[in-house]
Amino acid sequence: MDSNRKFALALDLVDLDRQEPNRNRRESRYFWDELFTLVPAAGFRAIELPYQPKWDFGGRSGVPMTNYAVTTKYGSVAGFRDAMKAKGIERIATVAFSPLLFASAPTEVYFGAFAHFASEALRFAAETGAESLVVTPTPPVGILESTHGEASVWSREFLKRTSDLLDRLALEARTTGVLLSLKSEFWSLLRGDRIDTFLSGLDGALADIDTAHLRIGGLEPAARIRSLSGRIGSVHLTDTAFVDSGSAWRAVNPEFPADRPTQVFRDIGLGDVDLAGAISALDDASYRGWLVCSCRQTRDIYRAMLRARAFLDGIAAKD
């Protein structure tokens, strides 16, 4: 195993939006305090924290995913960091932010909220000592089209404003020492390698590699890693067996294909993405950042953590 590899676990494996029995407990602090004990038990000593402004509202500060929530429950960001260290989580490797919550809002509200909360997430990332802030640059095309109409009419201006916003964020990021990384999701206006042109117009932002998103979008992760030749800011190891044979990418809710319900994102090792090939390509590219294991959409948080660990152990054994 390459000793330079460092793995983190993304907390997006805790689905706070969708249904399951006993989901409510996930809004209480005790759930997270126990989870932070179990994450190191699964062999992960670093995490990715999704920064979700939703938890600023409605009195749900038990979910430690905003500055408000963390300071309410732990006194300060430093207090939160200390509490996690006491449980064996040595650091927050990355912070992730998506403007999805505001996707259906009027344009001015959307960009205002995006800029405000992305900046807040950046400051939070800096204060926690995170290496990078991973930003989703656009919500799903389908949601935007349901609000604004056909994308070809408005997408140019929308992307220009997005670029301006991220330019300012990149400038701010440089003053904090946090890397700014942009995620290309298969449902995005910037899906696949469309993000390359966008990134070339930004000073100081790098590309995120999300293996399942790339695969669904039609790109093989290892090839994509090689083509980026070092311009990689963050990596998400994600798995899938989903093939978008229609236009699921353009649906309002692309993570839940309506015509044939399926679990788009599988637990690591249960899909058919060549993750070993991606990791090998990252080694070849001398990537030294975090490899964040994300089991978004898992049906079982604790099995997902252990499945990810088992998969990584298997990779290490083959090295």
């Binding site: 969708r18 407990r25 209480s28 500060s61 259906s104």
Partner: protein, 307 residues
Amino acid sequence: MANLRFSHMSHWKTIPYKTIPNFRDFYYEDKSNAAYYSDWDRILRYHAATGYEGIEVAPWDLADMLPLFGTLKEFAEFAKERGVAVSGMFHGAEGSHDPAKREEVLASSRLDVDRIVEMGGQHMNTCPDSNYFGVGPLSREQVRYAAATLTEMGRYAESKGVRIGLHNEFFCAINKENHREFIESTDPRYVHYCLDTAQIAIIGEDMVKFYDDYHDRICTFHLKDTASPKLPDSVRYAKDVEIQDDGTRWFWEPGEGVLDFKSLWRSMKKHGFQGWVTVETDGTPDLLASMALTTYYLERELGPIYR
């Protein structure tokens, strides 16, 4: 014809599918119970199967429901095909005491009344103001202003055939010290009351006495139990108190807490209550189990008293 019709307050989180046509294949993907809790088709069938003729929806769910159904009317028809009517919708009148927010509060209220009309519902159960923390205590003038705002909301609702039922959260700025004054400051022609049995007990009221006192204002119920009535002010007025750090639950299924539902049922019989009773089991670890457990209690324990 029964006097009581039971509805269930929707505390299902985001339901991502309208239907799952490939149910067996979806199940086999991971053999978990995800397939059982991911589409409206089955969720509504659970309502009908466990004895609920109605569903009360929540406004925060609409953004996810609309892409699935196109319109709220479509949702209501979809539910009706499965034997379930929309009894109403919850609503929050946050900031009703604040003159600067009056137009925003009224516009939001009108929008939700119209949505309820579209779904064929009858009730808009309304939290009357913001949370206590950061707002309370309200001055007497603010309480009266909030009451006037609610009356204005009720005037519009009544004109559309919808009844506003005040629904007092135990952590609301309208609370023990001004709750009755607030009710009596609203116009009874336009503002009614949704008796949330647990919330009212946690505030410090005697649920049965409250019903006896206000039976002519009470148009519907949120029926739930509690094991912690008469919570002290220091708890009710604290920050973000609804969800407790240690997982303590404020709400339980009727019969699993300490409230005297049999006396309430006798009082409802005495006053001849007729209409929707919405069972609400927020905080449960398993909504479907709570629905079935509550139906058993309603049928076997309370049904012989009044139904």
